[in-house]
Symmetry: C2
Subunit: 295 residues, 2 copies
């Protein structure tokens, strides 16, 4: 037996609270005729009288007093809800969901923990998965994407940084096979590459163009697996300069080149982009990116 017209309950509530139709109309900001019509409609719907009418005003019946107490708490609940929602856009609290490909975890986690410490009310959820989380489904507040600029509608895209990548090999590999003198020497070496033939990453394309397919002896679809392949000595492969700098066991085969750079993008949904929480995080993120000069 659900009630269909909550607004009528609200007007009835004010009438029960103030005792007069005119007073309720003033509070509600409507004409007193509207109040009368709301009461009539609601009483007809409920099949019972909520008020006794007389020339001095409306006095609530037993049912009217019942409605008064119920609507009183409703009014308070809605008021608190409104305060929470209005305030949440102006405070940095609650969940902040960030998504990125797993390969960026060690790059991003220091920044994420720093943001969490700066805003104790924040609970950071860092989602890394193979699939791309969709911002328009509300799966995350901020996504950090690599590669071509995303062009999804309703998403605001900002450049974050350029991720420099170079060719690296593990010390074990170098000890066993030596370093290639140059591109002409690649045929005698082993490489680690993407399993996906049409990978659009620029360094992957460069590998396809400059290294014989037979020399790519370790292939994986997951970026993290490629990185592990290099560190384990499976072959020479592309590693971001940032990751390489933190892994002393890697030896630089070819230094990063501009054409290998992969741009990083900050992507947010337009609905959430303007909120203080997201804006605050974006500021923190860009500040941290300035320290990524080495990547």
């Amino acid at each position: 037996m659900p009630i269909e017209t909550w607004d009528e309950i609200r007007t009835a509530f004010q009438v029960a609270r103030l005792g007069t139709v005119s007073g309720a109309a003033d509070v509600l900001g409507v004409h007193h005729a509207t109040v009368i019509r709301h009461i009539d409609s609601l009483e007809k719907r409920l099949g019972a009288r909520l008020f006794q009418r007389h020339a001095r005003g409306y006095t609530p019946t037993e049912a009217g007093r019942d409605l008064l107490t119920v609507a009183q708490t409703t009014e308070e609940q809605f008021s608190q809800l409104s305060s929470r929602i209005k305030g949440q856009g102006e405070t940095v609290a609650g969940e902040l969901v960030v998504t990125a490909v797993s390969g960026m975890a060690d790059l991003l986690t220091p920044m994420l923990t720093g943001f969490q410490e700066a805003h104790p009310g924040i609970i950071v959820r860092f989602l890394t998965d193979l699939r791309v989380f969709r911002l328009d489904y509300g799966e995350a507040h901020v996504a950090i994407r690599a590669g071509a600029a995303p062009e999804e509608p309703d998403n605001v895209v900002q450049p974050l940084a350029r991720m420099r990548t170079g060719l690296y090999a593990s010390r074990g590999y170098v000890a066993a096979h030596g370093l290639p003198a140059g591109p002409g020497d690649f045929a005698g070496h082993r490489f680690v590459g993407a399993d996906n033939e049409q990978s659009r990453a620029p360094f992957h394309r460069w590998l396809r163009d400059n290294v014989p397919a037979d020399s790519v002896t370790f292939r994986a679809s997951e970026p993290q697996a490629l990185f592990h392949g290099v560190t384990a000595g499976a072959g020479i492969g592309f590693v971001s300069a940032y990751q390489a700098a933190h892994h002393p066991e890697l030896v630089e085969v070819m230094p990063p080149r501009p054409e290998w750079d992969a741009p990083l993008w900050i992507v947010t949904h337009v609905d959430l982009h303007r909120t203080l929480k997201v804006q605050s995080f974006l500021g923190h993120l860009k500040e941290a990116a300035k320290g990524w000069a080495g990547i």
Copy 2:
């Protein structure tokens, strides 16, 4: 920070619950364009987004989920309220406020207690006061009035019984002064009468016409005081046959006459008259009145 449009919260609640605008529109029985407009209006009012829009539907944001839980309990509260109000007109429970002049207390109380015992859910409030309680102010459900038929608007009036009254004196008075032989002998006796000169009760008028004013030596405005005056031996006075029958110390001076009869009326407010609670009480009251043959 009160919320002005409860209906918009209701539609937002359904959208959050079902996940789609179309589904909410079906449940609410309105067009989906209306739902969209409600959501837009509410979000604009709150200054925050409640939903993320995409082609598969609306997924609630953090604020939207907050609204969902609040509105969920509101829906339940209103539903229960509706059930209570709709049901209360069909059950005999709650308060039943009956008002009458205090002189009728001993006549009515047995009937009232009997009604309460027949309906354990009832709390009977019997208000007796000098002033007349006003039904149109919601002061009582049922009023029992004596005298001329009430003619207030919005009140439904039904005849209940005729209250027969006679002239009585206490045994002590009779022992001291004897009984008057007839109206011609009244001048030598003492009488108890109304203080109010323009009292409209027929027996009071009869007293004014047939008894010298000097013989009315005990006057009171309160009916109960008049009755006590008679029983205390202050003089000869009018007592209802019902009361006289229950007081053996009274001696009949003149038996009840039809022209002394005072009609009793049942008065109820038109809004409450049709409710089962009042109707049930009226049936009980009329049944009890059949046993008042002696009054």
